[in-house]
């Protein structure tokens, strides 16, 4: 399936994100779609919280956002939807997110082979230079020799 231009991608992000039911459940929405840095918004929700008395968002939600964005950034780099699986994820939580505020997530696929894609990203409120969390991941394509960009 071809994805088209970045502008088309941005408008088509929502149905794309909803290919994965879990992305739909978290309510992720597109902010910017570019092979250099894909950005999505995770709206603050009381259901996403670790402790209701502090209102701080749960790290598990950030992992879900980053994993979704990682897959998306690989598809954007390829210019098409490509079936893949997560092989591993690493996340560092640098500071707690501010209670009540939406989170942005950014990701880039920085290297790719026929079989693997290497991604990194961050979760932040205002700027990727001031992240609340950073992450890296390794993904494997489930169709052989899929990773050649067109």
């Amino acid at each position: 399936m071809e994805l088209g231009s970045p502008e088309e991608l941005a408008t088509r992000w929502v149905p794309f994100a909803h290919v994965a039911a879990y992305g739909r459940a978290l309510g992720l929405s597109a902010v910017d779609v570019s092979p250099a840095w894909c950005v999505a918004r995770l709206a603050y929700d009381e259901r996403w919280v670790l402790d209701a008395s502090t209102g701080v968002m749960h790290g598990a939600v950030i992992t879900g956002m980053l994993d979704t964005l990682f897959g998306f950034s690989i598809n954007v780099k390829l210019g098409r939807l490509q079936p893949m699986v997560t092989v591993d994820l690493r996340v560092d939580h640098l500071k707690p997110p501010a209670p009540g505020r939406d989170l942005l997530g950014g990701a880039v696929c920085y290297s790719m082979t026929d079989e693997f894609a290497f991604v990194r990203g961050a979760a932040y409120h205002d700027s990727p230079d001031d992240p609340v969390a950073t992450g890296v991941g390794l993904f494997m394509f489930t169709d052989k020799a899929a990773g050649k960009p067109r």
């Binding site: 259901r47 008395s53 560092d92």
Partner: protein, 144 residues
């Protein structure tokens, strides 16, 4: 209700599912906590919204990873108590097998627990415990 009060209630009622009520995202995932013969097991009931790849279908890696983090935090609440949940500092998740559309269980091994930091290994399995679908390693900062 505070975490400490919830823990006390869960302990006296011997109903560890009450822990989940004190963690909104764990409640969203509808997690279950059971302790049998001093062994802590957390369960993620299958729900279609947990799917990541609709073709296989397989569980979303972010859902599995997030479940393991909840399991680690719930374990520390059960094992230590305290006024607040621990804080996740970092994590690494290795995905070993595709997560089938069925219930997933998690067990915890304490690799090292110091005064401030706990290193936990959390394993996820579905049909057989010796065939884990994911292995995660966490550092949690222990709060008072």
């Amino acid at each position: 209700m505070t975490l400490a009060a919830t823990l006390a209630r869960a302990r006296s009622a011997n109903d560890w599912n009450l822990l989940v009520d004190a963690m909104p995202f764990a409640r969203f995932l509808d997690l279950r906590v059971a302790v049998e013969r001093e062994e802590f097991v957390c369960t993620l009931p299958f729900d279609p919204q947990l799917i990541g790849n609709p073709r296989l279908p397989a569980l979303h890696g972010g859902a599995t990873g997030g479940f393991l983090e909840c399991a680690g935090l719930l374990y520390l609440g059960w094992a230590r108590g305290g006024e607040r949940w621990a804080t996740t500092i970092d994590l690494q998740v290795d995905y070993l097998r595709s997560g089938q559309p069925r219930d997933t269980h998690a067990g915890v091994v304490v690799v090292k627990q110091g005064r401030r930091l706990a290193n936990l290994r959390v394993e996820a399995w579905q049909t057989r415990r010796d065939e884990p679908i994911a292995l995660a390693q966490f550092h949690f900062l222990l709060n008072e």
